[in-house]
Symmetry: C2
Subunit: 204 residues, 2 copies
């Protein structure tokens, strides 16, 4: 199996950290693309993923799976232990709820703040500075929300590590491109961040 | 079990259609809220869902699950048949991929086009007309993408009905608020739309 990615991009990191937590990172070959040079915009890559995003998983039979969480779900099905998407119906729903909250109200505003403020992809989209500023406010608000949620908690969902911890960590680190970092007063978030960052998978 | 919703809103419809396809719609009591009047902004509702969105599922033991797809996943776990989130690892991944494509590149631009163009929620957000116009282009592009994908296909993923069909249908219908409809030339999309719309669950 191969994963097409760009190592410094946040979505591929989510997948690598997921695989590292499963202990199967070495079962996959990684193929590096340069997104700024548009190596994801070729007809060959569009045939693998019409959305032209990384990561994309290529199975040995030539079929493809795009989208970070779709790739993670595939590996969760093949390698259920340790469970990273929940262990029972309620916990699975809780993980899904948090994955969506992190995706829709944290990762997306973070990415859009970057793209609309920096003009990084201005050759292929229309940056709108006012929208970038609005997204920045949303991302800042999620730092505060996470800090309140993590008071007295070891993990984001229940009593075990999950993909929600992975996705929140990767989004916080990605916010360096927006010069957004954990405020020293956000002590619950900081303590959680230090714990999750110290897992070997965070360096995958 | 109770679901807090607003019947005309698109996310609650996705959940009702999912439950109707499972044959368990009558196992849930529905509580109607008026979002424009801010009935989702009260301290009581924020305690159920800090994101202040509908739908929210309330279990009989008083616990809550927010987010459309988290509620759907909970019911998929409790009532696996008929499977609406995929039947084997690859199909589950494909459904997840499509759910994310529809959510991120169709439903979100549709909702943001509406909110940023109409000013419907201007008492609680900052509409940016230029961003609304950009989102409209993205939504229009997804109509074309779906039309091409559906050539020669009965369903969005593989050979069976899934939550991807539900979410795409509800997003297309939601686009009436943006005056966006299927173009008569989009014949594959139109044929699929007519088939899916004629399922009894579409009226749930």
């Amino acid at each position: 199996m191969k994963i097409y990615e760009m190592k410094v991009a946040p979505n591929p990191r989510r997948v690598r950290m997921f695989l590292a937590e499963k202990g199967i990172l070495d079962q996959v070959e990684f193929v590096e693309l340069n997104l700024q040079k548009g190596e994801n915009l070729t007809p060959e890559f569009s045939a693998m993923n019409p959305m032209k995003k990384v990561p994309v998983l290529e199975l040995d039979d030539g079929r493809h799976i795009a989208e970070t969480m779709a790739i993670c779900r595939y590996f969760e099905e093949l390698h259920p232990e340790p469970a990273l998407l929940g262990r029972d119906p309620f916990e699975k729903a809780q993980v899904e709820q948090w994955l969506r909250w992190i995706e829709l109200y944290f990762f997306m505003p973070t990415g859009m703040c970057f793209q609309h403020s920096s003009g990084y992809f201005k050759d292929r989209m229309t940056p709108i500075a006012e929208w970038g500023a609005e997204c920045r406010k949303q991302a800042e608000g999620f730092f505060r929300f996470l800090d309140r949620h993590l008071e007295g908690r070891e993990f984001i969902v229940g009593d075990s590590f999950s993909a929600a911890d992975i996705n929140a960590l990767c989004t916080i680190d990605f916010n360096k491109v927006n010069s957004l970092r954990i405020d020293p007063e956000q002590t619950h978030l900081k303590a959680w961040y230090d714990r999750i960052s110290s897992r070997p998978s965070a360096r995958a």
